[in-house]
Structures are given as C-alpha cells and as structure tokens.
Symmetry: C2
Subunit: 137 residues, 2 copies
C-alpha cells in the first residue's frame, strides 16, 4: 500500500489575510470573507454548489510544521503541552484544515465567495464536502 | 508551491468491514465498532485522547476513483448525476474521509476502539481532530 499518497491541489484561497500570526484561530472568530478559486479542471464537480450552501472546505496548511506532535493550545504558554490530535493546531503530521463556511456568491462556476474562512491568502484547497443533514448525500 | 503535497500515513483502521460495497455510507448508518491503530511514531500526539472523547478521524480512502467528478448520490441511479463536491462520495480528486466517532477504549496509547466507523479494514488514517465545542482548542 502507498504510504505517501499525493494530494492534488484543486484551487486556492484568495483572502485579505496574509500573515498567519494575525489570522483568527477559527472561522467563527472574526475571519473575513474570502474567495475560493478552483481550477477549471474540477468545474464539473462544483456545478450544484450554490449561494446559501453550507460546506466544509479542506485545505492543505502549507506553512505548518509537520514534525510537531505536542503544542501549547492556541500558543498560550500557560496551557500545558498537549498532543496535536487533541487540538486544532495547524502544526501536525498532515496539516489538513477543515473550514465550515457558507457560500455568499458564485462567479463563473469556479469562484465562490464564502463567509468565515480563516486560512491565509494562497492556501491550497484539496476538497469540498457538504455539511451532512439528516437526509444525507 | 508544491502542487502535490504528500501525506504520511499515521495509522490504519482495523474493522470487520472488508468489502466496500457492503459498508454503510455514513458511520451513523449501522457501522460496527472498529479499532484505530496508530504508528508508534505519533504516540506523543495521542496522549490526551481518552475514553468518551468525540473526535473526527481523517482517512485516505485508498480504493476511490480519483478522476470522478460527477456521481449518482448514494449510487442511486434514480438520482441525477451530481458534482462530487456536493456529495460525500468517496470518489473525488482527493478521497479524504471524515469520520466523527467516539472513543470507547484505549489500549497501549496507540490503539483506540471507536463507535460508528464506516471505513473498511486497512483504510489509512491521516489525521485526528477534536470535535470543536464552544470553548475551542
């Protein structure tokens, strides 16, 4: 079995956030609106997404430290060192970000404005999933 | 920027489910209990996880078809073809599975029995995150 599966980048985040140290920790903590800009190659997969939809965007947090296994949660040194799998730290072996956001606007089928995205400008996007409701898809 | 980031496999699922076509679509649809078995190399990152914790397990659905962009949701041919990013289909450019589960038992710091895991036996694990509550970590 392949022990190093390779991701493909399907798009990027366009955001006024450029400095990771200034970005909010979670989208609910004052993150600005941002654009998800997808590659034309995945256009057919996006066609049913529309304004108002709640989605989970999966990103690759490319600036993270992948050899980190213990952190002070939220960089608060008064909190004890904690295993990364009990935190939402970006620093972890596979720095995949999960971002629940709502679609505000769609342009040209591959540009989606969303509310509450805390990833910095240029962050690679690797997947989008619907928020599961009772009916399930 | 690296357009093909490589994941590292941090563990595997041990489950009585061996046949993808017989696995439930979501963990809430009758999935059996399973074991998450992690590599010793990530032990330090797991230390604070304990029985009763609700976590999100991220897997690499290694049997998926990565060139699929449109599917009939839940393989129901009566439902129209839909973009994969509006569905939870495993077939998608980056087949990352999200599995919300609860920890039932911990053995030796690297084996975690969980409830409601629909991934088949041998599925690679790539990350674990806490379910975010109001306080946030």
């Amino acid at each position: 079995m392949d022990e190093h599966p390779a991701l493909v980048v399907i798009g990027h985040v366009e955001s006024p956030l450029t400095e990771p140290s200034l970005a909010p920790r979670q989208g609910s903590e004052g993150a600005p609106d941002a654009w998800l800009v997808f590659r034309d190659a995945v256009r057919d997969g996006l066609r049913e997404l529309s304004v108002g939809d709640e989605i989970i965007v999966l990103t690759w947090l490319h600036r993270a430290a992948r050899d980190t296994l213990r952190v002070h949660p939220r960089d608060d040194l008064s909190r004890p060192l904690t295993g990364v799998f009990s935190t939402r730290s970006a620093d972890r072996p596979n720095p995949i970000g999960l971002h629940p956001v709502r679609i505000l606007e769609v342009e040209d089928g591959v540009r989606f404005q969303v509310r509450g995205m805390e990833a910095v400008d240029g962050t690679p996007i690797v997947d989008v999933k619907p928020v599961i409701r009772a009916s399930g898809t």
